[in-house]
Amino acid sequence: MSKDTYAGTLAAAKKGWLSAHRYLLLRRASQLSMLALFLCGPLTGLWIFKGNLAASRFLDTIPLSDPFILLQSLATGTIAGSTALLGGALIATFYLLSGGRVYCAWVCPVNILTDCAAWLRLRFRLREGISLNRNTRYWMIAMVLAVTALTGSLAWELINPVTMLHRGLVFGLGLAWTIPLGIFAFDLLVSKRGWCGHLCPVGAFYSLLGRFSLLRVRAERREHCSNCLDCYAVCPEPQVISPALKGENGRGPVITGANCTNCGRCIDICAERVFSFGRRF
C-alpha cells in the first residue's frame, strides 16, 4: 500500500472492483438478509424467523438459540428447557463446522457499524488510539459468567449490544440505538477495532467455539505474496495472518487462528490472489 493509495486500490485495478469486493458484498447481503428474515414476520405477516438472535423458531418448527446466552443461563444454575437446548446444539454445531466467528462477520448486526468505523479509520488514516490487550475479551467472558453466577440473572443481556441492537430492530428500538452508536464512536475515536477485536465476549465465545472449524481461509498461493500489506490493513484480526502467510518450517498455509472471522476480506483485497476459502485439512 503506497502513500497515495488505500488498501484495495491495487486489487480493484488488477481484478476489477466487483471481484475486489466480492466477499464484502456477500457479507453485507448476508447480514442484511438475516435482519430481513427476522423483520419479514412483523412487517409483512410472513413468519420465517420468530424471535430474535437470542432464540428463535425457524418456520415455526426448528428452534434455534444462542449458546452463549444458554451458557450464561447455566451459570446461574438454571437448566434451560429442552427446546432451547436443542436450538443451542443446532447453532453450536453449525459454528463448530463453519468457524465460530462466522457469526461475527456474517450475522452480527454490530459488525456493520464496527467495520464502518474501521473503514473510516483506514480512509482518514487515524492513529490506533488506546491499545487494549486482545485477550481482554476472554477476561470479559470470565467476568460475565462470574457476575451472572453471583447476581443470578443474565447480567450481560442487560447491556449486550449485539442482542440489544437486534432485539431493538425487530421489536422496537427505544433508546437501544445509543449503545451501538457508542460502540461505533468508541471504535472510530478511541480504539482501533476496539469492540469486536478486543472486548466483545460474544465474539470471544464464538472464537472458542470455532477453534477447530473445518472452513478456513488458506494462503494457498503465498509464494506470490508481494508484501503490499493490504491484507493486514483490512483484517480485523491481523495477528492471525502472519503464521499462515509467513510461517516457516512447514507452518501454514491455513489460517488457524481462532479469532479469524472468516470474513474473506483478505481474499478480496489481495491483488495476487494469495488467499482463498478452503478446508482446514
Binding site: 424471535g51 438454571t78 490487550n133 470470565a142 443470578g152 442487560l158 442482542t163 433508546l175
Partner: protein, 262 residues
C-alpha cells in the same frame, strides 16, 4: 554480557506481561462490578404496575431463565406482552404487560407459555386459571363506586372467574339507611392476576389494581394455627370441652316485680 542482557530483556518482558495482565483484569473486574450492581438493581426493581406473563417463574428465577427472545410476545394474540426497552425500569429485553393498558386474556391454549423455549414460563402450568401473575387489590375504597353506594360492578362482571376471584358482599348502607352496598372482594385462592378488573374499572384511575403477589399479600406469623381449620382437620375440637359451671341465680327476698298500684 550478552547473557545478562538476554535475562534483562526476558524479565522486562515478563514484567510488562504481568503488568498488562493485571491492568486488564483490573479494568474488566471494575466493569464487572458496575454491571453486577446494575444487574442486581434491575433484578429487584420491577415497577408494581408491570406484570410478568402467565406461568412466569418467581422473579429471581425468571431473570435467570428468560433469554429475552420475545417469542412469547409474538405468540400473544392480543399483543398484551412487550419486551422492555433499555430505558424502561424492567430488566432489558424481558417480557411484561401493564394491565391498565392491555390485560391478559387467559387463553386456555397458553400460546405464550408454549412459545417459551427455556421454561422461564413454566410449561407445567397447564390450567391457565392456576396462573398467578399478581393479585388484584381493591386499593382505593374511597373512590370505588360500589363503596360509594352506586352499583358499578364492572370489575366483578369482567372477571373471568366471576363469583370466585371477585365476589360482591352485601352490606347495609348506613348513609341512606335503606339501601345495600355491594362491596367487591378479591379472593387470592382464585385470582390469576390477569388484570381485566383493573382494565375495566370505570374510574379515571383504577380503584382496583393488580400488583405483584409479594406486595399484595401479607404473611401470617408461622406459629399461627386457625382453630376452626385445625378442628376440621382433626375432626374434633382440639381443646377440651369448656367447663360449664352451674348458673346461680340471685336469691331475692322480695318479688322481682313488686306489685305497683297507682
Amino acid at each position: 554480557m550478552t547473557e545478562t542482557k538476554y535475562h534483562d530483556g526476558q524479565s522486562s518482558e515478563r514484567r510488562k506481561f504481568l503488568l498488562e495482565t493485571a491492568r486488564t483484569a483490573c479494568g474488566v473486574a471494575l466493569f464487572g462490578l458496575g454491571l453486577g450492581l446494575y444487574g442486581n438493581k434491575q433484578a429487584v426493581a420491577r415497577p408494581v404496575y408491570t406484570m410478568r406473563p402467565p406461568g412466569a417463574l418467581p422473579d429471581k428465577k425468571f431473570l435467570a431463565a428468560c433469554i429475552r427472545c420475545g417469542q412469547c410476545v409474538r405468540a400473544c394474540p392480543y399483543k398484551t406482552l412487550r419486551l422492555a426497552k433499555p430505558e424502561e425500569e424492567v430488566a432489558t429485553g424481558t417480557p411484561y404487560f401493564s394491565a391498565r393498558q392491555i390485560p391478559c386474556e387467559l387463553c386456555e391454549k397458553r400460546p405464550c407459555i408454549r412459545a417459551c423455549p427455556t421454561g422461564a414460563l413454566d410449561p407445567l402450568l397447564t390450567d391457565i386459571y392456576k396462573a398467578r401473575m399478581g393479585l388484584a387489590v381493591l386499593i382505593d375504597r374511597e373512590n370505588c363506586l360500589n363503596f360509594l353506594g352506586l352499583r358499578c360492578d364492572v370489575c366483578y362482571r369482567n372477571c373471568p372467574l366471576i363469583d370466585k376471584a371477585i365476589t360482591l358482599n352485601p352490606l347495609h348502607n348506613q348513609r341512606s339507611g335503606k339501601h345495600t352496598l355491594f362491596l367487591p372482594e378479591v379472593h387470592s385462592k382464585h385470582c390469576t392476576g390477569c388484570g381485566k378488573c383493573e382494565k375495566s374499572c370505570v374510574l379515571e384511575k383504577a380503584a382496583i389494581k393488580v400488583v405483584p403477589l409479594a406486595l399484595a399479600q401479607g404473611e401470617l406469623g408461622h406459629h399461627y394455627r386457625l382453630g376452626w381449620e385445625e378442628k376440621t382437620k382433626a375432626g374434633k375440637s382440639l381443646i377440651p370441652e369448656q367447663l360449664d359451671l352451674p348458673d346461680r341465680m340471685p336469691e331475692f327476698t322480695t318479688p322481682i316485680t313488686p306489685e305497683w298500684k297507682p
